[in-house]
């Protein structure tokens, strides 16, 4: 326990809190910037087991903010979850770490949630967050939403049966937010979002539910903004995810992004769960700012960048050219549209 002595000395943890921490299994979805910051803090804090799911591999443009990865990982195009596991093993060999290199669909996450005491969100898109939210409600497992872009970020703790859920708050999946690929990001925004998530995680792991933050935090480190917003009024009995008659709509096959490899064309088609109406003007501006070449007409946008050509239709459908890899195609799609 000497190893955790400074954490045990913090009175709200103490020896009984450390014992609780040492018996907990945490599931992290995403091994990007937030995922690597969070998994490192959890492993150092001495949880029993960590499962981390990610579909991507390490690229040089990740190194500016994704703390577990080295130049060697980028050189070898190591899958992030596996690169994370290798580094984390060196940090704390007592923690059981499981790396799963795949797309975090509801089929993949469902069985993992059953074994987890807590789910941490480290994804880069609201579609996956809505699936996490439904799984959290279905299995009564708390989860912590966290996100960052530019110098800003957010954190919200969702306790099933107690707080409003993400579906109460957002009603539908928000579209066309800035992403790290269009708005950029600085590393302190990552660490600030992760610090909020991790503080909430420790509260839940030591079972100090009284201390859990009520409401959502928003910060902007460049503009020196910091705001907390209460969420209590948004809890709705009719919510399909957390209300009295839950349907878990985001666990339905119809409500997920669909992909199809277009035969013989080296192209993947990505179709969002619902018809959207993209605002081409806003989107084109963001993409150009993000260094993409953008061309198009009233019906489609043709976007060139990172060695790929993407054609976006107004209803949210996309063709990702020069790939047959559906995971890569979904990554690119979410990077552009959030």
């Amino acid at each position: 326990m000497e190893r955790y002595s400074r954490q045990v000395l913090f009175p709200p943890v103490g020896e009984s809190g450390q014992n609780k921490i040492s018996m907990k299994h945490v599931l992290i979805i995403g091994a990007g910037a937030l995922g690597s910051a969070l998994s490192e803090m959890l492993v150092r804090a001495g949880i029993k087991a960590l499962t981390i799911v990610d579909r991507d591999y390490v690229e040089y443009s990740n190194l500016q903010r994704q703390q577990l990865y080295t130049e060697q990982d980028a050189e070898n195009r190591m899958p992030k979850a596996e690169a994370a596991r290798r580094r984390l093993e060196m940090v704390n060999s007592d923690v059981q770490i499981k790396a799963i290199v795949t797309d975090a669909t509801s089929e993949v996450m469902g069985p993992l949630v059953i074994n987890a005491d807590l789910i941490l969100d480290a994804t880069d898109n609201f579609e996956t967050r809505m699936v996490i939210n439904d799984l959290s409600q279905k299995h009564r497992t708390p989860w912590i939403y966290g996100a960052c872009v530019g110098s800003t970020g957010m954190c919200l703790t969702i306790l099933p049966g107690k707080t409003p859920c993400l579906n109460c708050l957002m009603k539908s999946i928000p579209i066309q937010g800035l992403t790290c690929d269009t708005g950029g990001i600085i590393s302190p925004a990552v660490q600030m979002a992760a610090a909020h998530q991790m503080a909430e995680a420790i509260k839940i792991l030591v079972e100090d539910y009284e201390a859990v933050r009520e409401g959502l935090v928003f910060f902007d480190l460049w503009n020196n903004d910091y705001q907390q917003f209460k969420t209590g009024k948004m809890k709705k009995d009719g919510c399909l995810s957390c209300g009295s008659n839950p349907q878990y709509p985001f666990l339905e096959r119809d409500n997920v992004t669909k992909t199809a490899v277009l035969c013989g064309r080296d192209t993947v088609q990505v179709r969002p769960p619902r018809h959207m109406r993209l605002n081409f003007d806003t989107l084109a501006r963001q993409l150009i700012q993000g260094g993409y070449q953008v061309d198009g007409n009233a019906f489609l946008l043709s976007v060139q960048g990172e060695g790929k050509r993407i054609v976006l239709f107004q209803d949210g459908r996309a063709l990702i050219h020069e790939t047959k890899d559906i995971h890569e195609a979904k990554s690119i799609y979410h990077r552009i549209l959030g």
Partner: protein
Amino acid sequence: MINILYFASLKEATKLDSEQLDAAGKTVSELKAMIMERHAITLDGAMTAVNEEFTDEGTVLNERDTVAFIPPVSGG
């Protein structure tokens, strides 16, 4: 008067941190329409808080309320 606060990309879009608008008695949804026209921006999907509490589009605003608009953050 209603005190309006803009956060993150909405600060840049409006080129304002805050402003005051005569909108007491209007609903959140009417205020949003007013602002979207005024600044030629979109508030679709923006989260809305009245006096530091998230609220629905139908909420009626009272004199001296503070309304904050925050774009949801998605990156990670």
